[in-house]
């Protein structure tokens, strides 16, 4: 699975005729292959824009490469990327099984393979007992896992997370983190995980990035980044007190 290299990434949003906003300002980063790369930062620091660029959902200047091969000209569907966001976006009229199987059906997978793959991911994410239920009969944590299962069932090489747990209550989050870690490990995809919750980021991350004004302010092992005296990190630490 790929190491993702981002070079000199710049994104400018046009607000109106006279005003523009620089969302990313020459960002450089290297995301570790088959690991969880967490990105934190104050709101407006460019976290979500970075994810959109990697997914190909937004126009950018600069270069994004998976294992050295540029993906800049590839459409989102050809990048092998899956996205899980804070709205679970499940189909309410479909069962859990059909929700998870949906991307495989669209891709034209044979029936036997669909059943095999859905059962495998349901087993990892502890969803086997609710495969026949509809999303409205599930708890928030379970719905979130269905969204994760639907993203991973295609076996994407890169999985992007945009604050996937911010709608879950505090007691649920540990379990969900455990499932997330287990499934990323099993499928070996490269994960970029955006959050504004610092404890969650330090708990999950193999490598932690702090964004400030559209650039990486500091990155490295979570323990080192959390205790670093970089002003952007210090400001974030102030927020959690």
């Amino acid at each position: 699975m790929p190491t993702i290299t981002v070079k000199d990434l710049t994104v400018t949003f046009i607000e109106n005729k006279t005003q523009t906003t620089l969302a990313l300002n020459g960002l450089d980063a290297e995301f570790l292959s088959e690991k969880i790369n967490c990105v934190i930062g104050a709101s407006g620091s460019g976290k979500t824009t970075l994810l959109k660029c990697v997914a190909g959902l937004c126009n950018y200047d600069g270069e994004i490469a998976f294992d050295g091969a540029s993906v800049d000209r590839l459409a989102p569907k050809d990048r092998g990327v899956a996205l899980v966001s804070q709205e679970f976006a499940l189909y309410p009229h479909m069962t859990v099984f059909d929700n998870i199987a949906f991307p495989l059906k669209v891709a034209g997978c044979p029936r036997a393979e669909i059943i095999g793959r859905v059962n495998e991911i349901a087993d990892i994410l502890d969803l086997k007992y609710c495969l026949t239920r509809k999303p409205r009969h599930l708890s928030g944590g379970q719905q979130q896992r269905v969204a994760l299962a639907r993203a991973l069932v295609k076996r994407p090489s890169v999985c992007l997370f945009d604050e996937p747990m911010s709608n879950l209550d505090a007691q649920m989050r540990f379990n969900e983190r455990r499932f997330l870690r287990d499934s990323i490990k099993k499928y070996g995809c490269t994960a970029i995980y955006v959050t504004h919750d610092i404890p969650e980021a330090t708990a999950l991350a193999d490598k932690l990035f702090v964004l400030d004004n559209g650039k990486v302010a500091v990155c490295g092992a979570p323990q080192d980044v959390f205790t670093s005296d970089n002003p952007a990190m210090a400001a974030l630490r102030g927020e959690i007190k």
Partner: protein, 417 residues
Amino acid sequence: MANVSLKGVYKYYDKNPKPAVSDFNLEIQDGEFIVFVGPSGCGKSTTLRMVAGLEEISEGEIAIEGKVVNDIEPKDRDIAMVFQNYALYPHMTVYDNIAFSLKMKGLETPVLDEQGNPIFDKKGRPVVKKRRYTKQEIDEKVQEAARTLEITEYLKRKPKALSGGQRQRVAIGRAIVRKPKVFLMDEPLSNLDAKLRNQMRAEIIELRKKVQTTFIYVTHDQVEAMTLGDRIVIMKEGVIQQIGTPTEVFNSPANLFVACFIGAPQMNLFKAKLVKTEKGYAAMLDGVKLELSAAVNEKLKAQNAEEREIILGVRPEHINLEKSPSDKTLTAKVDISEMMGSELHVHAEFEHAIKIKDDNKKDDESEKDQKKMIVRTPLLGLPETIAESIRTGGEIYFTFSPEVMHLFDFETGNSLT
């Protein structure tokens, strides 16, 4: 401002013999902030809607300012309600949305005789003169509400041009402009994202300081309940489990449900045995005798408690890690640990740890969670020997002091202390 009293309130829905709310008794003081909290389907919103008059009361009595309101129309109860989905008029500007209730309601003033006493009609009701608010009066009140909520600059916009948090502020503005006696809020922050939710929570605390009104607030979020409420009413399946201040429900939960509902990560539960000793009582856990505090001993003596199986509850932050084993320490095996910024959450396996049943899971699924416990410990100053065994998945040795132990009946789950 007004006090609100609920006496023996029941709510039955057609065809369902089980009440959605049963025997609800609560006295809310003038100017108090009360939070109803519980999992979905516990009857908290139903109770609030009965106070508002949006649901009929099946049995019992609800009184606002001493006056029974069971048969009074919602509009005549002098209450205001804020909903989760804001319910703003999309075609009106923020200003018109806030002014709407003033335009509709008008102003009632009692008619006075020459001596300045109110005049009553034949049925003994005070005679009132009704008139519309003048444009200037409406403007003053709207501007004042907008200043309180800091939305003056958005008054000319329509709701679709506002963010979720701003919309919710407009909804609150529409409620406070009428200066109601009681303010009812039904999960007002649930539609906002986590960051806005934190910000709006702080704003509600501020608002509460500015408008001295009685608040009844419904939420399923324990953090909101703990930070906002003067008192919290914890409900489950239509029944009140405990009423108390945030500190009371955290420190002295009435039963296992409250103990596990409040606090994150959840309280650890252990299967233990209550035994009699020379001094009074002690708890036996994994062969270690745990002394109980003097206060707990007194209470158990007063109940003349028998030796039996009990459930012992200890919050993750109250567990002390020890460097080496002794006859007073318990031993668990580290499963994984998570670095949560400045503290560490250690998840460990312990033979006598149990979990109460999760209704959402089948029995065999709940089984997997058994024998698991969590320890919360600060990272700073953690001895190297302990840090090492946590890193390598080794054994940890732990104790807890008598003051932090909660004792529950094994069968009923009620607190023994």
